[in-house]
Symmetry: C4
Subunit: 200 residues, 4 copies
C-alpha cells in the first residue's frame, strides 16, 4: 500500500534546481556598484565580492551533492519531499546571511551567524540523507556509506561549529576556516578521487 | 477530436515549478539586514523571520499537493492549463502580502489581507482540482476523493475565513491560527498517515 | 547533413519556461506596500494591482500558446532557437514597461509604450511561428493554419496598434482595449472552442 | 569503476537553464523608469537599454552554445559539473558588470571591466569545453573540432582583450567592438552556415 504513495523524483529535482538556481543568482543583487570611480572603487568592494564567491561555491557544492544523493533513488515518499523542502528553506536563508556579513563588514556577530546558517543547512541536508537512506533500506538496496565521505562530513561540521566562537575574536580567521572547508570539498572531488563526495 | 488537443503535463509541471521556485525564493529579499548590531539587531527581525517561514511553508505545502494532484494525470486540456495559471497568479501575490504583513508590523488589516490571500490561493487550487477531476472522469478513471482530505480541506478553509474578522481584534491570534493550520498539514503527512494529503 | 544539426526541443522548452517564470514573477516586486494604513491604503494601489494582473495574464497566455506551438515539433534548428530567444527578449521587457505604466500613473505616453511593447512581443512570436512553420514544411508535415486563429491574430494586432494613438487622448480606454483583447484570448479557449488558440 | 560515477546530464542542463534564465531576466531590473516624462524620458535611457540588449544577447548566445556542447554527451563526471559551475559563476557576474557600465555611464574603466568579465566567461566556457572533450575522448567518441569555429573562437577572444586597453581612450568604440563580436556570432549561425557555432 505504501508503494502506491511513492512519487518519481523528477519534480523534486526540478523544483530543487529551480530554487537553488534562484538562490545562487539573486545573491549577485547584493553586489552594489561602488560610488568611487575606477580601480579604487572596484578594490573597495573586493571583500564583498569574496563573500559572494564563498556563498556561490557553498550552494554549488550542495547542488553537486544533492544531485549525487537523489540520483540513488528513482522514487520518493512524502518524508523525503519535506526533508528536501527543509533543506531548500535552510539554503534560502543564505542570501540573507550573506547580505548580513556584507552589510556588517564581516563583524564578529555576522560571521558567527553565517557559520550558524551553514550548520543549519548541513543539518537539514543530513535530514535529507537520512530520509533517502531510510527509503533505500526499505527497498532493500544496500546503502553503503563511504567512510571517507563520512569523515569529511564530521570534519566540516566541526570546523563550522568551531568557527562560531572563533568569530568573536578573529572574524577573518573564522571566515578563512569556512573558506578552507569549501575548498577542501571541491578540490579532491576533481583531482584525486573519482567518487561523488557528499558535503557535510 | 478532443483527444487531439490534450497536451502532456511536463511543461505545466516545469512552468509551475519555475514560478513557485521564484515565488518561494524572492520572499527572502523581504528580510532586510537590521541596522542594530549584534544579537539585539537579530532579535528585532525575529517576527519578520517568522512570517517569512510561514509563507515559505505555505508555498512548500502547496507545491507538495500540486505535485500529488498533477501526478494523477498524464495529459491535460486548456481548462487545466488556465486553472493552473490562476493558481500560480494567486500564489504570486503571496510575496506581496507577506511584505504587507512585515511592513505594517502585523497590524489587523495586513493580517486579514494575508488570510484573504490564502483563501484566494485555496480557491484557485480548488479550481485546479475540479478541472483535473473533470479530466479524470472524462477518461473514465475513478476519482476517489479521500474523505479525510476533504474534511481537512473544509477545516482549513473555515480557519482562514475565521482569521479575517479575528485579525481585527487579535492579529497575533489570527496569525497563530494560520500557523497552526500550516503545521497540521505538514505533521500528519510525515508522521501518521502515508497518503498524499491535499492542502485546502 | 542538416538533420544532424537538429536539436531536441527539451532545453528550448526548459529555458523558455525558466525565463517566462522569472518574468511573470518578478513583476510582483513592482507591487509596493502603500504607506497609508488600512483599506484606503489598499485601494490606493488598486490601479497598480490591475496593471500587474494584465501583464501576468499577457505572459500566461503567451506561455499557453508557446506550449501549443513548440508541441508541434520534436526537434528544432538554430533559426528556431534564435527566434525563440528574440521572443524571450521581447517578453523580458514587459516587467519594465509594466513598471513604466505604474510609475507614470497610466499617462498617455506610458500606455502607448505598453501597447508598443505588446506589439513587439507579438511580432517576435510571429517570427517564432514562421520559423517553426518552416521546419514543419521541411519535414513534410502539413502545417494547417487555423483560419479562426489567424483572424484572431490579425484582430488583436490591429487593436494593439490602434491603442497607441488612442492612448494620446484616452489612456484608460486604450488600456481597456488591451484588457479586452487579453480576455477574448482566454475566454473562448476555455469555454467555447476546444482548439489551442494562438495569441498574436 | 569510473563508469559508475558518471551522472546523466539532465540535471546539469536543468540547473544551467535555471541559473541562465534568472541571470538573463534579473538584468531587466537594472532598467529604471526615467523621471522625465514622455519621449525625452525614454530617449534618456536609450544607452542603458542598449547595454541591456547587449548583455541579454551575450547570455543568449552562450546558452545556444552550452546547449550544443552538452548535447554531445549523455553522461558527465564531476569535473564537467564543476567546470559548468565555474561557467555559471562567471556568467552570474554579468548582471553586476552590466549595472557597472550603466551606473558609470559607460566610462573607460567600467567598459574595460565589462570586456574583462566577458573574457572571464569565455575562459570558463573553454574549461567546460575541455572537460567535455576529455570525456568524449575517454568514451572513444571522435571529437572533431570545427576549424571555422576555432578561428571564430580565437578572433573574439582577441577582440575582447583588445577592447580593454582601447576602453581607456575610446570606451564607445570598445563597446562597439564587443557589440560587433556578438552580432558576428548570431548572424552566420542563422543565415549562412548550418552548423552549431560555438561562442568564444
Amino acid at each position: 500500500m505504501r508503494k502506491r504513495k511513492l512519487l518519481p523524483t523528477t519534480r523534486l529535482e526540478a523544483f530543487s534546481d529551480g530554487v537553488l538556481a534562484v538562490i545562487i543568482t539573486i545573491m549577485v543583487l547584493e553586489l552594489k556598484v561602488p560610488h568611487k570611480d575606477g580601480l579604487p572603487g572596484l578594490l573597495s568592494i573586493a571583500p564583498i565580492f569574496f563573500v559572494y564567491f564563498l556563498s556561490f561555491a557553498f550552494i554549488a557544492i550542495y547542488w553537486v551533492n544533492h544531485h549525487s544523493l537523489i540520483q540513488r533513488i528513482d522514487e520518493c515518499d512524502h518524508r523525503v519531499l519535506y526533508a528536501n523542502l527543509s533543506f531548500l528553506f535552510a539554503s534560502s536563508l543564505l542570501p540573507f546571511f550573506t547580505a548580513y556579513v556584507i552589510e556588517k563588514h564581516s563583524d564578529s556577530f555576522s560571521v558567527a551567524l553565517y557559520a550558524a546558517s551553514m550548520i543549519f543547512t548541513a543539518l537539514s541536508f543530513l535530514l535529507l540523507r537520512l530520509s533517502v537512506g531510510r527509503l533505500l533500506k526499505q527497498s532493500g538496496k544496500l546503502n553503503v556509506e563511504d567512510t571517507a565521505t563520512q569523515r569529511k562530513h564530521v570534519t566540516s561540521m566541526v570546523i563550522y561549529i568551531a568557527a562560531i566562537p572563533l568569530a568573536h575574536y578573529h572574524p577573518y580567521i573564522a571566515l578563512g576556516m569556512i573558506t578552507m572547508t569549501t575548498v577542501i570539498w571541491i578540490v579532491p572531488t576533481i583531482g584525486l578521487t573519482s567518487h561523488p563526495d557528499e558535503f557535510p
